[in-house]
Subunit: 365 residues, 2 copies
């Protein structure tokens, strides 16, 4: 059916809510990408001002022949706008345009756009369908897959949200060519995470192919995205709502969120904080007697070669501990850590405060 | 297990999300009502200022031995507060109190409290459990059952929301004793609806027992609530997200919503508008050749004897038609009506504009 653009396709199984992840070049512009989206009277492309200028026209051209009404909603750019006010802008625009419950949303952008749009779709007239079109590496390998959507609250990130699976994920690797290098590197943090928690062979592949990824070789990127999505979807299929195994996807994130909050959100990119967080989490795993020093060194080296930070300055150890105690994944005040049992295998555990303190201190510069 | 309070119990089947509806006297205060709620670290009773003064203390006393932390969140009273600002008050209070994702909410009040609380539970940290404790007849027979939650938007009622099933529904008929008569009567509109769409025998029972219901005879109320919940849950079990059969629950509501909007929300109670809307919908069903004049007369008489309006003044026919075209249940501009195929049987259909105009005009005073 498809001609020209080479692409991979991956199926995420959620019974009646199963969906495909398409990965490859030229997908945005290809009519075949959109041909079998469920019928709707209105299709709204939700994006931000930056991405809109680059890709909204291409998506709109592909959608216009298929839907009675199409519109573009361009939001202000940045994590600071992932709030109720911006969400309400989406609702206002949809209602102004007369969109009804037979509408679909197309989330065109990075994680912020995907989270906002997915949550808007979850709530608009009690739920409509949406398609994820991630345009950053981070969104392609992580936030666009799995159905987590939401907005921030002054008291914390993603405090308000919903689990709402997309109808499809369209990861067009051409869009990565316009990505700043710092954001590409930040996206690789999550890719490294998948190897660490679920597939040591993938870590070996990353070790070997890191230069190709950093130079944006399409074949290498496509493989890394595909393998990342396979690992993530395999986990979320077993635990959609994070009541068990899904928690291991937070490897490096408990430390990482505390670093982000401690430095002030926006100073480091999420992926940068996760990179450093994985270093701390691997160190903690060693202190708990689960992995060897050599295993930690190998991960730290990969994180470092990627260009991600392996230590953090200007926050105290106790600040990080306090912030972790307030994380929404904490249960009754007890911090839960994702630790490595061996390279490629993760588990969730608690740890003595002193040991956590040592693991953090060792990576404060 | 339970002693003293006589009550009925009804099961709503949604697989792993199945739940019980308890109906009877003294349930609020009975520890057994709450004993097997799933474990949580924090239980927050969300209510309004009016209901809080009457029942919050009783519920809190029953909950305090069971949860590490309990709190009461009393919202301002009224449909005008069913908005984002009030919803955010719930989030703020929960986060201030340190409630985490292992919390549950208890919705103590009428439909507004239930819809707000249910939506807060659907969104707080991407979804926590909640218990419906409806204290109005309308909420006991309708809004507390079925998982529809949401808030209003300046452009329409319930535009933003989610389907989120409660963990349990606790309909304590003692709470109906404090209800103003006008609200009791409004609640009976939905009870009459269930007979009209699904059980002509129930309509006959209502005809015979109407005086007992209006005098708040507990046995009669309990039967009416139970039968209403049975009919509603039987329908929503087959169609949780209103993609088919569930639409028949909107009998009288397409006309009713237009009447509410046309008069200005709050002038008539929802149930009053539904009463008059059912009269128009029955009239339309007759004009479509589906039911006989005698069937219409019988329903109109029951609505009238209950004390509900059977005609509306001060809105024009065209205003009502225009408002119905903008309803969120309209599909691509086509108004969909729930009509009676025969007494106790409903279907969804469209109708010629002229016929709709006649059915409305006949009930404008």
């Amino acid at each position: 059916m498809r001609t020209g653009a080479a692409h991979d396709s991956l199926r995420v199984e959620f019974g009646a809510r199963s969906y495909s992840i398409l990965i490859g070049r030229g997908l945005l512009r290809d009519p075949a990408t959109w041909a079998d989206i469920p019928p709707a009277t209105c299709a709204a492309v939700v994006t931000n001002e930056t991405v809109s200028a680059l890709y909204a026209e291409a998506v709109l051209s592909a959608l216009t022949p298929l839907f009675r009404r199409t519109l573009v909603i361009a939001l202000p750019d940045g994590e600071g706008h992932k709030d109720w006010s911006t969400l309400n802008t989406i609702f206002d625009r949809l209602l102004d345009a007369g969109c009804d419950r037979k509408s679909i949303l197309i989330a065109l952008g990075g994680g912020v756009v995907g989270d906002l749009t997915g949550f808007a779709a979850a709530c608009f007239m009690r739920g409509i369908g949406f398609v994820q079109v991630p345009t950053t590496l981070l969104a392609q390998v992580d936030s666009s897959v799995g159905g987590k959507t939401g907005i921030n609250h002054p008291r914390g990130k993603n405090m308000i949200g919903a689990f709402h699976q997309p109808l499809r994920v369209v990861a067009d690797t051409d869009t990565l060519m316009s990505l700043p290098q710092r954001e590409l590197v930040a996206g690789l943090a999550e890719v490294i995470k998948y190897g660490a928690i679920a597939d040591d062979g993938f870590t070996t592949w990353l070790d070997t192919n890191l230069e190709r990824l950093l130079k944006r070789d399409d074949e290498a990127l496509r493989y890394a995205i595909r393998r990342s999505c396979e690992i993530k979807s395999g986990i979320i299929e077993r635990d959609e709502r994070e009541s068990g195994i899904r928690e291991i996807l937070n490897f490096g994130h408990t430390f990482g969120h505390a670093i982000e909050a401690g430095l002030g959100f926006g100073k480091w990119l999420h992926g940068e904080a996760v990179g450093c967080g994985m270093v701390m989490a691997a160190d903690l795993s060693r202190r708990l007697g689960r992995i060897a020093s050599g295993d930690v060194d190998r991960l730290v080296s990969l994180v470092h070669r990627t260009g991600l930070p392996i230590s953090v300055g200007s926050i105290g150890c106790e600040t990080i501990l306090d912030l972790m105690r307030g994380d929404k994944k904490a249960r009754g005040g007890q911090i839960r850590f994702v630790v490595l049992e061996s390279p490629g295998h993760a588990a969730v555990d608690s740890a003595p405060d002193d040991m956590v303190r040592d693991a953090v201190s060792a990576h404060i510069s």
